[in-house]
């Protein structure tokens, strides 16, 4: 194992992509993803990474070029955020059912208007059902590890689905963190070259992306859905192998200090690290809270979430997306839906906060905790709380 070094998290992602020895990168610059593709272009320019780098004229074309490249059998990567992801949206829905294992980093950022460049999850949640595997990371080390794992998961013949690794923009993408790199030999042993089943090549012609009639469309969707659901087992298998190789173990749902907890925070993305700090601080004050963090969002690890969350009395969901005109945030919504069939469910209180990168310091968690516990006591829990609004 190599030593710990400090590096900007975006650059760690680029280094992971280099170690994965990608064949094609197609990218368009957008804040806060830019440092990733800038560094990749340097790696290509310096001959450290042997890949084709296509400077496309939009994110729509970035994902379109990725589709073409992946269809040709090349290991393909891109990164985007916010408006860029929205522009790609149409093609996201084409890439997944075509079973093209593209890997993409999304440096999560708010979707305007008003125009803002900072972080929340409105970009990815708007595309949550596009059929990609979606992983959320909480720190740089995890981002690095998950980027390598993403290629292995995506290209597994039992999966063959594209993967999005979500990192919180700025909050994670632009910070310098310590991490332990992995050497090329280890990555090579873990990640074999992409061996596609069908490719765009004249020696063996195939037709991809055909047009369907209603008589067969539902079956194609079912095939996609089954593949996505069944990928959960493969994802866990890949993570287990990575854990054995590096000592860094990942699970779909992770618990922190939950053994004796009555109340837990449920977090996703970089809130998870903050959440652990909060749990430590609250426990010092004698409040028995814990944390459940969700790493895998698609396929939604329903069983793992149920077995984790049903143990507690109160579940406080902390998420970064306001579902305009909806019932609650998407994370709480999924959890509530998953629990609907159960007889005894915990109290679920949803907090939407940190929109457009607004800082959510640890004290705010105390406030949310208090609000939730009081509302539960009074029986006045709302469907969700938009937290920290200035009146």
């Amino acid at each position: 194992m190599t030593n710990r070094i400090g590096m900007e998290v975006s650059l760690m992602v680029s280094e992971a992509v280099k170690l994965a020895n990608v064949d094609v990168i197609a990218a368009y610059p957008i804040t806060p993803q830019t440092h990733i593709v800038e560094h990749l272009s340097e790696l290509v320019a310096d001959g450290e990474l042997d890949a084709e780098y296509i400077c496309v004229e939009s994110e729509h074309s970035a994902m379109s070029a990725c589709a073409g490249s992946s269809a040709a059998g090349a290991r393909t990567y891109t990164a985007t955020a916010s408006q860029g992801l929205q522009l790609m949206s149409e093609i996201l829905y084409a890439v997944a059912p075509m079973r093209l294992p593209v890997v993409m980093t999304v440096a999560n950022r708010t979707v305007s208007a008003p125009l803002t460049i900072w972080n929340d999850h409105s970009d990815i949640m708007a595309n949550r059902d596009c059929g990609w595997i979606m992983i959320f990371v909480e720190n740089g080390q995890e981002d690095f590890d998950q980027t390598i794992c993403a290629f292995r998961i995506a290209e597994d013949r039992r999966v063959l689905l594209p993967v999005i690794v979500n990192m919180d923009g700025f909050i994670l993408s632009h910070v310098i963190e310590p991490f332990e790199p992995v050497d090329q030999k280890t990555v090579d042993s873990f990640l074999p070259p992409f061996d596609p089943i069908y490719t765009m090549h004249p020696d063996r012609p195939v037709t991809m992306g055909a047009f369907t009639m209603p008589e067969i469309f539902t079956e194609t969707k079912m095939a996609h859905d089954v593949a996505l659901r069944e990928s959960e087992a493969v994802i866990k298998e890949v993570w287990e192998e990575w854990g054995k190789l590096t000592g860094r173990h990942y699970t779909a749902v992770e618990e922190y200090m939950t053994d004796d907890a009555a109340t837990v925070f449920v977090t996703i993305g970089s809130f998870s690290e903050l959440g652990m700090e909060v749990v430590d601080a609250m426990r010092q004050k004698g409040v028995k809270v814990g944390l459940v963090k969700i790493r895998l969002f698609r396929p939604f690890p329903t069983e793992d979430i149920l077995s984790a969350l049903t143990k507690f009395k109160n579940v406080l969901v902390i998420e970064r997306f306001l579902a305009l005109g909806g019932v609650c945030g998407p994370l709480a919504e999924q959890i509530k839906a998953a629990m609907y069939k159960l007889k005894d469910t915990p109290n679920i209180v949803d907090f939407v906060c940190g929109l457009s990168g607004r800082d959510v310091p640890p004290e705010e968690f105390f406030g949310m905790y208090e609000t939730a516990i009081n509302a539960i006591k009074d029986g006045t829990v709302k469907e969700f709380y938009l937290w920290g609004v200035r009146e």
Partner: protein
């Protein structure tokens, strides 16, 4: 002119049909014919990215396909970008020794809507990037035929479509046809040409030339649409020839920026036929008055003369 070749035609062209029979194009579809000719000229070592449109719909109803060559459809506006990706992917894999080295042409194909409207940005990006072994073919039937004859920016002035209908206050399409070939040529690419399936050998020669010059190349093929143009289906070839003979759709090529009127069609010594010969009989122009046709004649004359001047540069 094609009569000259009748006896020898089978020997002059690729016998293999990479666009298979049994597709679902309308009767008399000159676009299907154009695709067939383009594929004959391209040969086997190609990969195609096809935009959403007539050809995609008629040729790929799952689980059937009309394509004997690798073919992919992703969306409406991105044929050029998908072809760019295939081009880059194949290049990288060959360089890394993962697949054998071989010259493979990445071909983007789209209709006039998928090219001059929604696909223009992706096309411009691909041409600007100067991909080698990259070719783009626009099959121009002058409207969104597949969705029911709506106007595009390639619909000619005066043509009635379902979104530019003629009426007491409308002459139909009120703006002039976007000049896609000139726009493509402005990207300073090695080869740009116009072609028409009524002139199959000219079309095939242009495709071969585009391939020989390496790319990126752009070929704009006028593809007569009997359904949308409201003409009898057996007259598609005739109307293609009339489009050329009247100067409405001149055939030319631009090799490294140098314009040249091509082949046997409409050399300067020949007198162009009046546009009315082309327009009469087409239902989409039925409502036009003599004044309108005169206006169109003036515009066609002006554009034709401009083009001739370009060839003299």
């Amino acid at each position: 002119m094609i009569d000259r070749y009748r006896v020898y035609a089978p020997n002059l062209t690729n016998q293999k049909e990479n666009f298979a029979e049994g597709h679902r194009a309308c009767q008399g579809c000159a676009e299907a014919l154009a695709v067939r000719h383009v594929l004959k000229a391209l040969g086997d070592d190609i990969v195609i990215a096809n935009a959403t449109g007539c050809m995609e719909i008629v040729s790929s109803p799952l689980p059937l396909t009309s394509w004997n060559v690798p073919w992919i459809h992703v969306a409406f506006e991105n044929a050029a970008a998908v072809a760019s990706g295939m081009n880059a992917g194949l290049k990288a894999l060959m360089r890394k020794g993962r697949i054998p080295k071989k010259r493979i042409i990445s071909v983007g194909m789209a209709g006039d809507g998928g090219t001059s409207d929604i696909g223009l940005q992706a096309l411009s990006g691909a041409l600007e990037r100067q991909h080698k072994d990259f070719m783009y073919v626009c099959f121009d039937n002058e409207a969104y035929m597949n969705t029911g004859i709506q106007r595009s920016s390639s619909t000619p002035f005066g043509a009635a479509t379902t979104t530019s209908p003629s009426g007491s206050k409308s002459i139909g399409q009120a703006t002039w046809k976007k000049n896609m070939s000139r726009i493509a040529a402005a990207h300073n690419i090695p080869y740009v040409a116009t072609a028409c399936s009524s002139y199959p050998f000219d079309l095939q020669e242009k495709v071969k030339k585009a391939v020989a010059l390496g790319g990126p190349s752009y070929i704009h093929v006028l593809s007569v649409c009997p359904t949308g143009w409201r003409i009898p289906s057996h007259l598609a070839i005739k109307y293609g020839r009339l489009a050329v003979a009247t100067g409405v759709f001149p055939l030319y090529e631009v090799v490294h920026g140098k314009y040249r009127m091509t082949a046997h069609i409409d050399e300067k010594s020949e007198k162009r036929r009046p546009v009315v010969d082309y327009m009469k009989g087409q239902g989409r122009y039925r409502h036009l008055s003599e004044e309108h046709i005169e206006e169109i004649q003036k515009r066609v004359d002006k554009e034709y003369e401009e083009l001739v001047k370009l060839t003299e540069l």
